[in-house]
């Protein structure tokens, strides 16, 4: 009985259709912006790539992949992975820069 009550309270916290449809609209708009800035020259394209793309990926992770609704452990797992990739990226380019 108590388990059932726990389930239904958890159920009440689930986001509805609307939340995800809104996120999808934002993702489509951001894709449009990304395509737009890619026509404005190399500098704008690179800045678009470096800002809009991680933003889009972040929205998918946070909402579609439910990271927003998970505990801190899941967020830490993802952040540690991204941090590791960033370290490898930095190591490679520090090597490239001083060749």
């Amino acid at each position: 009985m108590s388990e059932h009550a726990e389930h239904s309270s958890e159920h009440a916290e689930h986001p509805g259709y609307g939340t995800f449809i809104k996120i999808w609209v934002i993702l489509v708009v951001l894709t449009g912006c990304l395509v737009g800035v890619s026509h404005l020259g190399q500098t704008a394209a690179v800045w678009g790539l470096l800002t809009l793309t991680p933003l889009k990926a972040g929205l998918v992770f946070y909402y579609f992949m439910h990271l927003k609704y998970e505990g801190p452990l899941f967020k830490v797992v993802v952040l540690v992975t991204l941090g590791t990739l960033l370290i490898f990226f930095a190591l490679l380019f520090s090597d490239v820069a001083f060749r």
Binding site: P15, F20, T31, A45, A57, T81
Partner: protein, 200 residues
């Protein structure tokens, strides 16, 4: 008498995330390789990107974004015990995944017709930077395509399980985990679009 069934949905999701993290590192390594090669051959990558069909890349982005939406909506539908709606959403995802692969197929076959395929003679006559560009293009979009095919297989099973009530309102972690995989495939494509199709 109640049968005790061990269930740990949180653990199941954590396990899926740990697997996804290895996928992120797999593609991450390729992205790091790409960034170094682009730094080394900027003009060739610019030219290579111009040879790709940006329109098809953008259409495929919209197709995958929408298929991600329908997966997450299928989960909402299952949570609300709206079985038929969940099946429609999952069916839409499968359809969009197939559309993605068909578009990808057209795009690749156009490249093949121009003599551009791994280890082709024409490719070996191109400057080294362009060979690297096409090498990365076929490797990364190919590996991504394999993930789309696997994702479609997994989601087909989910559609079957929703239909047979194996996935239902009080038991849907399998669908959540399959959805996670599909979303990661979408995220990878989000990066592939600007890196290849919009590189020119």
């Amino acid at each position: 008498m109640t049968e005790h069934v061990h269930r740990d949905d949180l653990g199941a999701r954590l396990g899926m995330w740990l697997f996804l993290v290895t996928e992120m590192v797999l593609f991450g390594g390729l992205f790091i390789g790409y960034s170094y090669m682009r730094y080394r051959y900027p003009a060739e990558f610019h030219h290579g990107g111009g040879e790709l069909n940006a329109t098809l890349g953008i259409i495929n982005t919209l197709v995958l974004l929408t298929s991600s939406l329908t997966v997450v909506l299928a989960i909402v539908a299952v949570q609300r015990a709206e079985k038929k709606r969940a099946m429609v959403f999952l069916g839409t995802t499968l359809g969009l995944g197939l559309v993605f692969l068909v578009i990808k197929g057209f795009e690749w076959s156009a490249k093949f017709h121009h003599g551009l395929y791994p280890n082709s003679h024409h490719l070996s006559t191109l400057p080294p930077g362009e060979q690297v560009f096409y090498g990365l293009y076929f490797t990364m979009t190919g590996l991504h395509g394999v993930h789309v095919i696997v994702g479609l297989g997994v989601l087909s099973v989910m559609l079957w399980w929703v239909a047979t009530d194996r996935v239902r309102q009080d038991r849907y972690v399998h669908l959540e985990n399959s959805g996670l995989y599909w979303h990661l495939v979408d995220v990878i494509w989000i990066f592939l679009l600007p890196l290849f199709y919009l590189a020119a």
